[in-house]
């Protein structure tokens, strides 16, 4: 399921790119050829090209050419590239021709095959991502937009007749009738398609039901298999006169798997109930508890280093972390050795281990100085240490200005992964897996957390786990976009960025931004708190990591709200006549 999301957002990172003088301007051959290619193929929703500067330790300092493709759901990247490479326009060949200075093989099919293999080697599938306008193809978006425009025009014409006055229901019915009778909208008779998590699986009960069904299926597989194997072992023991004690361990092992599955499920349910009780039910019932929790959350998120925030952080380490770890350990012990958990001896062990953990945490916090300003630095712990004269590179400004009017905004950010790379990359992958899963299953309405306007946002780990690439296609402007993330998807954004840093690098080509001084991501608390809440520092960090695009393609220039409105109008016009649908039609034509 997650792979399908990840495969929607791919990048081709052509390393050691020597053809830096290639003309990507609107009048150039490459621009026109790529535009024609993507328009013809119709499944590429967004595409962009950017030059990624080389790492400081790269011997030849040649940049990499990144081609970002945001495509429709379910397409395998190889199939996509196969289609692009073999397209009769030969646009991909014109883009990557520098890979074969001698012109490549004479025969077109061999040349395409050769290029496809090269591109597959350089393919990077997103480690995680989020798609806002889910379940909609570029063609569908276009058709629904035409329907929206048509409806607005018809509504104007209908209003001019003054037949309906203030009767909204009759007016909506008349519009629906007209739409229904128009053969050009035959396609809309069918409701807008929805994938499982946006359709029949959208409710919480369906999601819980899905997990339950999967668990029951697991049990129905384990149960007969264990019974069969147990029976088989017993029969063999009887036939070959093997002592029962000799085969008993095998029978016990099978039985144990079955019981451990059930105990594991019970442990998960209990943990879930505890979470619900302390973080949902109690805050709802008790204002004092709610304020107390809000206070802790506020202090952990506080961007500056105040006494109260430091105190909360330390207390969380000393009490919160050991308690949570003890609970998880109990759940694990209950799943694996259920008999042990009831013994007094085990309870004593847990208490001792929790105490030791708390002492250890206290020592760690006392020793840890990473969160304190360096002596003599002169910076105030109550303020963000951001250079106030933060300047955005001119090339980034130009790109944003180009997309400012009626186009979907776009950003490319390139950072380095903190040392040790493997460890950080592993955590990033886990974090992005969680973000992608939540985006796929829970945030199905086009908002990631509370952050709206993301069409396609994706993260890649590139260059053997040393660098981190983030591309996003979003509505609005960069400042607003980051604000949405800072306030709407704090934990997810912090998780996705916290293992990154920004090392000095030269510009990819003349006129593009460079990084002169190393920068680091704002400090976090417990991996998910603070981080992006250090707003100025995070914005400046994100700005410094940004790169301009040299090419941009958008299949449809519509905001997510417009796309959602057009889809809703389609369902309302051709659906059942009721107040909700009538109201939606009227809102669509009035907005």
């Amino acid at each position: 399921m997650l792979k399908m999301v990840r495969q929607q957002m791919i990048c081709i990172i052509a390393t050691r790119w020597s053809d830096v003088s290639m003309d990507f301007s609107d009048t150039g051959d490459v621009y026109l050829a790529l535009k024609a290619l993507f328009e013809d193929v119709e499944v590429v929703q967004f595409a962009s090209i950017a030059l990624l500067p080389a790492r400081a330790d790269s011997p030849d300092q040649l940049p990499s050419l990144m081609l970002e493709l945001a495509i429709e759901e379910g397409i395998d990247p190889r199939d996509m590239l196969y289609r692009l490479v073999n397209h009769p326009s030969r646009a991909m060949w014109s883009l990557y021709r520098s890979y074969a200075p001698d012109g490549g093989p004479d025969i077109e099919s061999s040349r395409n095959e050769h290029l496809l293999e090269k591109l597959m080697e350089r393919l990077s599938i997103a480690e995680g991502g989020f798609v806002g306008a889910r379940d909609r193809t570029a063609r569908q978006i276009q058709k629904e937009k035409e329907l929206l425009d048509w409806t607005r025009n018809e509504a104007r014409a209908l209003k001019a007749t003054k037949q309906y006055g203030a009767d909204r229901a009759s007016f909506a019915l008349a519009l629906a009738r007209r739409a229904f009778q128009d053969p050009q909208f035959e396609w809309a008779f069918e409701p807008a398609p929805r994938s499982y998590w946006r359709g029949s699986g959208a409710s919480i009960s369906a999601k819980v039901g899905y997990v339950l069904v999967v668990f029951c299926l697991w049990l129905t597989v384990v149960w007969p298999v264990s019974a069969l194997l147990g029976g088989l072992i017993r029969v063999c023991a009887w036939l070959f006169e093997v002592l029962r004690s000799a085969v008993q361990p095998a029978i016990d092992a099978i039985y144990w798997v079955l019981c451990a599955s059930i105990r594991g499920a019970i442990a998960l349910i209990v943990l879930g109930l505890l979470w619900w009780l302390f973080l949902i039910a109690l805050p709802a019932l008790s204002a004092r508890w709610r304020h107390w929790l809000d206070g802790i959350y506020r202090e952990l998120e506080r961007p500056t280093q105040t006494q109260s925030s430091s105190r909360t952080y330390v207390l969380c380490w000393i009490f919160g972390v050991p308690l949570v770890l003890a609970l998880l350990a109990c759940a694990l012990v209950f799943t694996i050795w259920p008999g042990v958990i009831l013994s007094t001896f085990f309870a004593q062990k847990v208490l001792v281990a929790t105490g030791l953990l708390a002492i250890f945490a206290l020592i760690c916090v006392a020793v840890d100085r990473s969160d304190r300003p360096a002596k003599g630095s002169g910076s105030d712990p109550h303020e963000d240490d951001v250079p106030r004269a933060q300047q955005v590179h001119q090339s980034i400004d130009s790109c944003e200005a180009l997309l400012a009017e009626e186009r979907v905004a776009h950003m490319v950010s390139l950072t380095d992964i903190r040392n040790p790379n493997g460890w950080s990359a592993w955590w990033i992958r886990v974090s992005l897996g969680i973000v992608t899963l939540f985006g796929r299953v829970f945030f199905t309405g086009g908002r990631l957390g509370d952050a709206p306007g993301i069409h396609f946002g994706h993260w890649h780990i590139i260059e053997g786990g040393r660098r981190y690439l983030f591309c996003s296609n979003y509505d609005g402007n960069f400042g607003g976009y980051l604000d949405d993330f800072i306030n709407g998807a704090t934990a997810g954004t912090t998780l996705a960025w916290r293992w990154t840093t920004l090392l000095p690098r030269k510009s990819a080509v003349f006129g593009q931004p460079e990084v002169k001084e190393p920068r680091s991501f704002p400090p976090t608390r417990f991996a998910i708190f603070r981080g992006v809440k250090c707003e100025m520092k995070f914005k400046s960090y994100a700005r410094d990591s940004m790169l301009p695009h040299v090419y941009r393609f958008e299949a449809r220039k519509a905001t997510l709200d417009q796309i959602d409105l057009a889809t809703a109008l389609r369902d309302a016009l051709f659906g059942e006549r009721n107040d909700k649908n009538d109201d939606l039609i009227m809102r669509a034509i009035e907005s």
Binding site: M1, M4, D40, V41, E42, V43, E72, E73, G74, I75, D76, D79, M80, Y82, R83, N86, H87, P88, I107, E108, S109, S110, N112, E113, R134, D135, T137, R139, Q140, W187, P193, R194, S195, Y196, R198, G199, S200, G201, Y210, V213, V214
Partner: protein
């Protein structure tokens, strides 16, 4: 032209993949489907509960009522847009059918000579292979069917395969075209259970095919000698993807079944060896091989089951005492493989018997191509082409799969994508000698 748009997966994660796995597994292990068919023939009312026709009489009954059991069940799987196979009878259907019949008539004067000619050419090449493995589909069957079907598009064939701007001598471009149409046809074979990846690949290839046909529509128009119209392109697209891949897959299935029957293979090879150079001219031998092809296809049909839409409430005769009700708006399944092994209709149905006297049941012999008015109109030509291909294989040194069947044959879902074969060591040495 109505073009289907991509749809997201409305099934819970994992379900489609599981269903597709079961479907493909059943297709590959056809014996299991035959077993299920036998049970449903024995208890036809059980088939009735699930809307499955299994007995020969039931299948005949359903297939001769195209208004009640509609072919539109295929329509969602036609990735490249509307075509005959997924239409209900009407003016468009009649016009398309007439055009198709005209195109198929072009095959009459050239078959089987053109198929024989290409088979002979490839046989001559393959004879020098020694014991080196080769892919029976991509190195043999694909090209025989391609060349034999040349008259369908006449002078436009090469241009169509190479694309509007491609070099017609570039065999890689032809191969690309043949892969493209294979994946479009694959969606028809895989049906609605296909995973999203298979569906999307078919749609991508269908888009490419439409663009290709559009680019060479003038050539096709000249070859077909008809005025330009959107219907021309639609029919050309449909004819391109449905004719070639299905025949190639059938050919691969025929060879797979033949290699499982070494005694039959040996007998045919001996007969061919006796004829020597006259093998291509001997009418009796050709008849015998044709009968074998049909019998092998009976054991391994390309469409072992077919779906039908039920536009209005009706019922069908299962063979049980009561008819099975079919609610309107639903679907039902025709288990044609069960009907082809119905002992009540076909004597000694379990026996492999190419020379069986079918008597009054001759129509059932072609059941793998459908039945009644919606039976495949190109069935005779397809069998002729496969007969030529099989004769070619019979005069080659003895063939065998390069490994166990599960390893030598590569599947791409329900499709067979590679069939790695080689000549037996002795045969290889003999051919070199």
């Amino acid at each position: 032209m109505k073009v289907p748009t991509s749809k997201p997966d409305a099934l819970p994660p994992g379900v489609r993949r599981f269903l597709y796995f079961v479907f493909c597994w059943l297709n590959r292990n056809i014996i299991v489907l035959r077993g299920i068919g036998a049970v449903l023939r024995l208890f036809p009312y059980v088939g009735g509960w699930f809307g499955v026709a299994a007995r020969a009489s039931a299948v005949r009954g359903v297939m001769t009522r195209p208004q009640s059991f509609s072919n539109t069940a295929h329509a969602p799987n036609l990735a490249s847009g509307e075509y005959l196979i997924g239409m209900d009878p009407g003016p468009t259907y009649a016009a398309d059918k007439q055009l198709l019949d005209e195109r198929l008539d072009a095959l009459k004067p050239t078959l089987p000579a053109s198929a024989d000619q290409e088979a002979r050419r490839l046989v001559a090449d393959l004879k020098n292979q020694g014991t080196k493995p080769f892919d029976l589909i991509e190195d043999y069957l694909m090209w025989i069917v391609f060349r034999a079907m040349d008259p369908l598009f006449g002078s436009a064939t090469d241009r169509m395969a190479a694309g509007a701007h491609g070099n017609v001598k570039d065999s890689g471009l032809q191969r690309q075209y043949l892969m493209e149409i294979r994946y479009v046809a694959g969606q028809l074979l895989a049906g609605s259970s296909a995973t999203l990846r298979v569906q999307r690949r078919a749609e991508l290839c269908a888009d490419a095919l439409r663009a290709r046909i559009s680019g060479v529509s003038n050539d096709i128009q000249q070859a077909w000698k008809v005025p330009a119209s959107p219907d021309l392109e639609r029919n050309a697209v449909g004819l391109a993807w449905i004719s070639h891949p299905v025949t190639v897959q059938s050919g691969a299935l025929v060879v797979q079944e033949l290699l499982r029957r070494p005694e039959v293979h040996k007998a045919l090879r001996d007969e061919a060896a006796k004829l020597g150079d006259k093998v291509w001219q001997c009418g009796n031998f050709r008849n015998s091989v044709r009968n074998h092809v049909l019998e092998l296809m009976r054991f391994r049909p390309i469409f072992p089951l077919l779906a039908r839409d039920v536009p209005r409430d009706t019922e069908f005769q299962t063979g049980a005492r009561r008819n099975a009700p079919c609610p309107g708006g639903g679907k039902m399944t025709v288990l044609s493989i069960a009907a082809m092994f119905d002992p009540q209709a076909i004597p000694d149905s379990k026996q492999f018997c190419p020379s069986r006297d079918w008597g009054k049941q001759e129509d059932l012999r072609w059941l793998m191509f459908g039945y009644g008015t919606r039976q495949c109109p190109a069935r005779v030509y397809a069998v002729e082409i496969l007969t030529s291909a099989l004769i070619g294989l019979l005069i080659l040194p003895e063939l065998q799969l390069t490994d166990r069947e599960s390893k030598a044959i590569t599947y791409d879902g329900a499709l067979m994508s590679d069939m790695s074969v080689r000549f037996t060591e002795q045969a290889g040495k003999d051919s070199h000698a």
